[in-house]
């Protein structure tokens, strides 16, 4: 793993990145329907381009407190078998993440929904664990001091 092209986002007031290959697009749906009995991190479903998309609150999925909202927030549509979108507080645009200078978190990280820690403290997310409903371990515990350093 070296330099990857990513979409930079903010959730729970913290900076994350999603590899560009898993991003299908970005939308700002005006309304969505809540789903009864769904996990608390599922905000609901919305219609985007004729497709019903389930929207996951990324901060809640990672066990973080919601950060302040901004006008650049939105839903990142993932390129996956299921139509799923991640709701984030801000979308900072496309960039590059140097993982050579960072940390590859390996299987432990994937269990928490993260692939690695880039230079500058931005956490590269792994999309699959975020949307398949499996229980996630705490990123805070896995990263330890690095979590504080990435604040």
């Amino acid at each position: 793993m070296s330099v990857v092209r990513v979409l930079n986002v903010v959730a729970g007031g913290r900076q994350f990145a999603l590899e560009i290959g898993v991003v299908q697009g970005i939308e700002r749906p005006r309304r969505w329907a809540r789903l009864p009995l769904a996990p608390s991190y599922v905000l609901g479903v919305c219609e985007i381009g004729g497709t019903v998309v389930a929207v996951v609150d990324l901060a809640a999925r990672l066990g973080l407190e919601a950060g302040p909202e901004s006008h650049t927030g939105g839903v990142v549509l993932l390129d996956s078998a299921e139509a799923v979108g991640l709701s984030v507080e801000a979308i900072d645009g496309v960039g590059e993440l140097d993982l050579e200078a960072g940390v590859d978190l390996g299987p432990t990280g994937r269990a928490a929904g993260a692939r690695g820690l880039g230079s500058g403290g931005r956490i590269l997310l792994e999309s699959e664990p975020l949307v398949d409903g499996r229980p996630l371990t705490s990123l805070r515990e896995i990263l330890g001091d690095a979590w504080k350093g990435s604040e």
Binding site: G25, H71, T72, G74, I91, G93
Partner: protein, 393 residues
Amino acid sequence: MNADQDGGLRRWGREVDALSAEATRHNTRLEAGLERARQAVDEVLARLEGLEARLDPSPALVQRVAEVAHVTGEAATRTDLLALNFQVEAARLGEDDRGLAQVAYEIRSLAERGARGAAELQELASGLERAGASASEACAEGRASLENAREVLREAHRSGARMGESLSLARSAAASFAAGIKHRADAGDAAGEAARRLGAAAGVREEAIRRLAETSAARLWQTLRDLREEGRRSEGAVEQVESFSSKLRGLFGLVSDADEIARRAKQLALNADLAAHRSEDPAFGLFAEEARRLAEQAEVTATASQARLVEAQELIGPDLADRRARVLTLKRIASELDRVLRGFGGTGDQVADQSELEQVWREDRATARGLADARASYQALVDEASGERPALE
């Protein structure tokens, strides 16, 4: 009455006469000054009526600015979303940053600036709304304070007229008294005693009139302070409106941003067409269409924003002129009143209220009655002692 008493009473009569004449002249000047100040207050109140009527467009101004904020914000959000998706698509296809993605990046920057401008406009609209409410409130407060000033000036004017009458009577009494003394030098001890009592009563009345003048002046000083405070508040309102006006001028930059977005969006559409041919990815064709729609929207936004900002400026102009005129008139009144009061003397550090003024008036009327009684007693004594009718009046 002996020769010393006679001489003393004659001197006293001359002094009272001179003092009364001076006080009457002073009173005439005071009355004229008060009348001028009252006319100036009436003028401001009339202007205030006009200003209040013209404050009505403020909600319209707020609405115009809010509309511009809404249109600009919507356009910025749509532009940002399109440019962001274009960036993602270009990155997925491995496009070079210096090419398509760069154009998308630049458009995003413009969209962000537009969003900031929209937020600023929204804030401005809220600020204008608050300012409109506080301007109406200040107008009502200013009206109340000026109505109060007018009432005080009217009262002072009436007081001045009453003081003039009192002073005139006192002068007449003093003159008559002096004449009576001259003719009745041999009136005897009883008449001399009555004359002394009469002199004392007239002196008390002079003192009461002086206190009355001071009390009226104290109230006028307070009015002057109120007027100055009102002037400062009005100046603050002028500064506030000037600041809004200046911000509005600055927001014309948003219009050129919207023009720039239109230009870049057209460029993006052309590049997307080229990319669609090069990569055979239909997504670029869709982007091209979207970018053309964006360009049209940005042009409409620029035109609409410009028109609304011009309307907002046209609304704010007359309001500003009125506020400035009001400040000038208030300053003129304060200056006039200040001049009148400086002629009156003192600084009005101790402020008299209405009840104090009324108390002084009651005392003055009581001493006036005492003076009349003393004069009647003196007349009776003189008549009894000499069997003649002295030339008192």
